[in-house]
Structure formats: structure tokens, C-alpha cells
Amino acid sequence: MAVLDTIAPEAKERADRVGEADLVVALPSCQSRELLDSVVSSLRPVLPDLLPNGKAVFLYPDTAVASTGGNGDLPAADESLQLFPYAMLPVERYNEQSLDQGLRSLLQVGRTLGAKICVMMGSETSPDSLRNLAEPVLNDGFDLGVPLYARHKFDSLINSGIVYPLTRALYGARLHYSMAADLAISPRLAEKYLQAPHGQPDSGWITTKAVCAGLQVCQVNRGFAPAPSVSESADVSASLAQVLSALFLDAERYAGCWQKVRGSQALRTFGRPARGETENASADVHVMIETFQRGCKDLLDIWATALSPATMLNLKKLARLPADQFRLADGVWVHVLYDFILAHRQRVMSREHLLRAMTPIYLAWVASYALEVQTFSPLAVEDRLETLCAAFEDLKPYLLSRWRWPDRFNP
């Protein structure tokens, strides 16, 4: 396998001047000079604890200095900390392309400087975040540290209903936030990530790669997940299509890996989990149910190209239920997702259309879930999601069978 991408000549010169570093941290969100100053000042005190006598490099977007005309003084560099400007764009969670670009920048510089660990701080830039993520990789030999966020019951719904259960069932690792933008990465994983499979530059999620390569992955308890940016949460349909596309492409890339996996294993988790309080907010889901019912009226032909007849029948029955009895059974939801994975693979229609056509069914799941858990305690919500994950694992043989023999009769 070829090692793709090399560091730009200018950056190479700068790296030569820096020499070597033990820790390289990417700060893609520091797009202004003020923010960079404050983040560097807050992170600097953590470094002596993390790396006694070690050297760290903070990678920041070169636009941060350009925004002040390049005149202001940067935070003072010393023997233990160097600042390194690099062409970087902000990293968005759940956005494969933006995270991939950010990671490539970080890992290329890290490789050039011979770093023992690279840390991507895409959404959180607190000192605790850096310390908690970096320690397991530096001290316990893990290859990847991923944050584990606490959640309110109606937060991170795409992750709770799709990403976590699906990745867990496919790859067998109970990794709650596989699409997080804050990551600690070992040189071994960095090297693997920079090697693209089959000469393709598009290498998928780093978490999937780490799990499929059999590397050591751990989770680090953090507080509640950072709120999505305005651009991230603007359009549910676009967000869903983006996440599903990344997941389904990974399922194709790593088909050889997940077909061998049965069940799932818990990952070692560091830190103490944050506990949420019981929220008794009543869920207003009538618009979601209405959208689903409209989808059932107008998108049936499109769904029929992807879904099995039995699943179609269940969805039609669901559309006729009154709001108080509106429940989407776990089995039906899992079949919907598995059928869409297969339809995506077989390209039964334009992939963008296919993924966007799933929005009304996803909204039906959200409505059903919200109605069910609106009075639940945080612990009961976790139990409910655990039941959903079990359904994904139990029905995996259906996906396997249809993946291997797509033309076989499927009632």
C-alpha cells in the first residue's frame, strides 16, 4: 500500500526548523487571533504534566494570523511549546471530508516531526479535554482515544438511533461517538491512516479503520456533547444524508472486516461519566409524524425500490396509527436501515436521492422514540437504547445474507 500525501514544501521547511516534537495538537477551530491566544494560554499549563521534559507543537490555521494582517505577536514559543501555522479549515463532527482533511494535515506534520501522539481538538479546546484524551494513548498504549459524551434524551439523535447501534453491530466495538471530532492518535494508527486502501485517497472514518485493523481503542468520558454549529444543524435531511453516506461507504470499504464479526465488545472507558437529570419535557412530534405520513403517500415508489415488502407493509400500517399509539418497532427500524445499506450498495437510484428519501422514516423513528422515552429517567433511556442496539445485533444475519446473495428472494 502506498503512503499518500506528503507535507507541503513550506511546511516541511518550518518542520525542519522545529526539529522534533513529542506531541502535536491541531486546533482547527482557532480561526481568529484572539481565540488562538486564549486557547494556547489555557492549554500550556497541561503540557508539563503530560510530557515532562517533552516538546509540544500546536498546529493552528494560518488564517488566524492572516486575519490580523500578520502583525500581532503570537503567544510566546519556548523549548516546550512551538506554534505551527498550517492551511487548515474548521472540522465539523459527522462530516467525513472535513475531518479527513484536518486529520491528514495533523498526521502529516506529526509524522514529519516524529510525534509520539497527535491530538485533534476539533470541537473542544479545554485543558481537561487534551489531558483526558492524550493520557490513555501516552501512558496506557492505546492507539486511539475517543470522547464519550453524556447526552440529554433528545440530543445526538442521529448518533443514538443510527450511528452507534449500526457501527456497534457491524464492527463489534461499543464505540459511542465514532464520528467525534476530538481524537488522540498514536503513530501506529497515524501511519495506517495515511496509507490509503487500494491506492484510493478516500480512507473513511479513522475509528472504523482503527477497529478493523485490530488496534487498541478506548473511550474517555467527557461532559455533554458540544452543541452543533448552525451550519451543522441547518437541514435535517442534509445532515442525515451526510452521516448515512459516510456510514454506508465505510460498510462497503470494510465489508471484509464486518462480515466476520459477531456480537460486540465493550471498550475500556476512562474517567467518570456525567449524569443528566430526569427531564419530563413532553415531546411535540406532530410535524414529524405528518412528514412521515406525507412520505408514505408520496415516496412509496421510491421506498419500494429499497425496502422489502414486509417492511413496506409495516410502514404503511404505522402511517395509519394515531399519534398516541405511534410506535416504530425496533425490528422494522433495523430492517429499514439494513435495506437502505443494501440499496445504497446496489445503486438502485441516485445515492443522494436514496439517502434523502430516508428522512421521513428517520423522523418517524425520532417521533416514536420521543413519545416512548419522554418520561424516562436517563438510566431508563440508556436501557432503551441498549435494547435497540441488541436488535441491530440480532438482525445482522439478515444484512449478511442479503449482502452476500442480493438476488435471493426476500419477502
Binding site: 445532515s239 412528514t291 445503486r347 441516485s350
Partner: protein
């Protein structure tokens, strides 16, 4: 007098029979040419179908993002569509060869004009074909987008977009064929305008609820908006 009538009848009968006798070889040639072309088309079609299935043409087309072709293909297979198109082309060429065998000036002129017209016909067919594919693609995109936005007239919008594209490409195809002249332009303008008006009405009526809902959410204090209650990412 009767002799002259008899002679005239004899001569006309001879002329008709001679004319018919001259026509028979051409007619036989036409039938033979069509029959041969049908046989060639079937053999060629069989070989083409086997080769296309051998290279998994349908799957390859889908992987190139041309899955829209299967929707307008017989039994959903683009392979069959290609085979039938090629077969009919071969039969058409055979028929033209047969017609040319008549050796009459009129037929020759007809063949020449037909061959001159053929490129226009081909362009018109290609236009209609791609117009159809694009119309279906856009209509589906609009339908999905409109349903996701919870617009009440999603299907009407989608149909409007589909017919807009089909009418546009049909007008272009007719212009290429040289049929209708200015009437096509006029009819196209009227039809296009009508569809746009219908769409505008549909969007206006469809978005009425959306606008009132949005205003309601902004003006009534204390009412929790359902969108804010849920965070999808």
C-alpha cells in the same frame, strides 16, 4: 371501333403487367432485405445481449450513476434497451436497402431525403431520451425535497418539473425534425407558461401553511418550537 378499344385495353393491361413485373423483383428484394435484416438483427441482438450480460452492463451503468436508465428500459434492464435499439436500427437499414432496390427515381429520392433527414431524427431521439432521463431525475429530487419540507403539494410540484423538462425537450426535438414550424414555438410558449403558472400557484398554496406556521412560532411567546426540542447531530 371495338378493335381500337380492344387494342387500348390490351396495351394498358400489358403496361400494368409490365409495370407490376418490373415492381416484383424490387418487392421481392424489399421482402428479402427486411427478412435478412430481421435475421441479422436477431443474431446480432443475441450476441450483443450475451456480451453485455457478460460484462454486467446493467450493474456497470448503475455504478456510473446512470441508474435512471433502468427506469425507462423494458423490464428494467438497460441491456434490453440497447439490444432493442440496435436491432431496430439494423431492421431500418435493411428496409432502406430494400426500398432502394426498386430502382425508381421517386424511391431513390425518398431514400436520399430519408438519409439526409436521419441525423435530425437521431438528434431528436437522443434529445427525447436524455430529456426523459433528466425529467425523471429532477422530478424525483423535487418530490423528495418537497416531502422532507412537509409541503402539501409535493407530487404536483414534482409533476410540474417533470413536464416542464419533457415539454422543453419535445419542443427542441420537434424543431430538429422540422415539424410544425412556428406553431410548435407558440404552443411551447403557451404550455411552458401554463406549467410555470401552475407551479407558482402550487408553491403559493403549498407554502401558505408554512408561512403561517412560521409566523405563529415567532409571535406566540412561550410556545416551544418542536424543532428546538430535538438535536439531530
Amino acid at each position: 371501333m371495338w378493335n381500337q378499344v380492344h387494342q387500348a385495353l390490351n396495351e394498358s393491361t400489358t403496361r400494368v403487367i409490365t409495370g407490376f413485373a418490373k415492381l416484383v423483383p424490387g418487392l421481392v428484394a424489399l421482402i428479402v432485405a427486411v427478412l435478412v435484416s430481421v435475421v441479422v438483427a436477431r443474431v446480432f441482438g443475441f450476441l450483443l445481449r450475451r456480451s453485455l450480460r457478460g460484462i454486467k452492463f446493467d450493474a456497470k451503468l448503475a455504478s456510473w450513476g446512470l441508474s435512471g436508465l433502468s427506469e425507462i428500459s423494458p423490464t428494467g434492464s438497460p441491456t434490453l434497451l440497447v439490444v432493442r435499439f440496435v436491432s431496430w436500427c439494423i431492421i431500418l437499414v435493411g428496409a432502406l436497402i430494400g426500398i432502394a432496390a426498386f430502382d425508381a427515381t421517386l424511391t431513390q429520392q425518398m431514400v436520399i431525403r430519408l438519409f439526409e433527414y436521419f441525423p435530425n431524427f437521431l438528434v431528436a431521439v437522443v434529445l427525447l431520451f436524455f430529456g426523459n432521463v433528466i425529467a425523471r431525475f429532477l422530478a424525483r429530487g423535487v418530490l423528495i425535497g418537497a416531502v422532507n419540507m412537509n409541503l402539501p403539494y409535493a407530487r404536483l410540484l414534482s409533476l410540474g418539473v417533470k413536464w416542464l423538462v419533457i415539454v422543453l425537450t419535445s419542443a427542441m426535438a420537434l424543431e430538429h425534425l422540422g415539424i410544425g414550424g412556428r406553431i410548435v414555438d407558440l404552443a411551447f410558449a403557451i404550455l411552458f407558461g401554463g406549467i410555470v403558472l401552475a407551479l407558482a400557484l402550487a408553491v403559493g398554496l403549498g407554502s401558505k401553511d408554512l408561512v403561517s406556521r412560521s409566523l405563529e412560532n415567532q409571535t406566540i411567546h412561550g410556545k416551544e418550537r418542536s424543532e428546538e426540542q430535538f438535536r439531530h447531530l
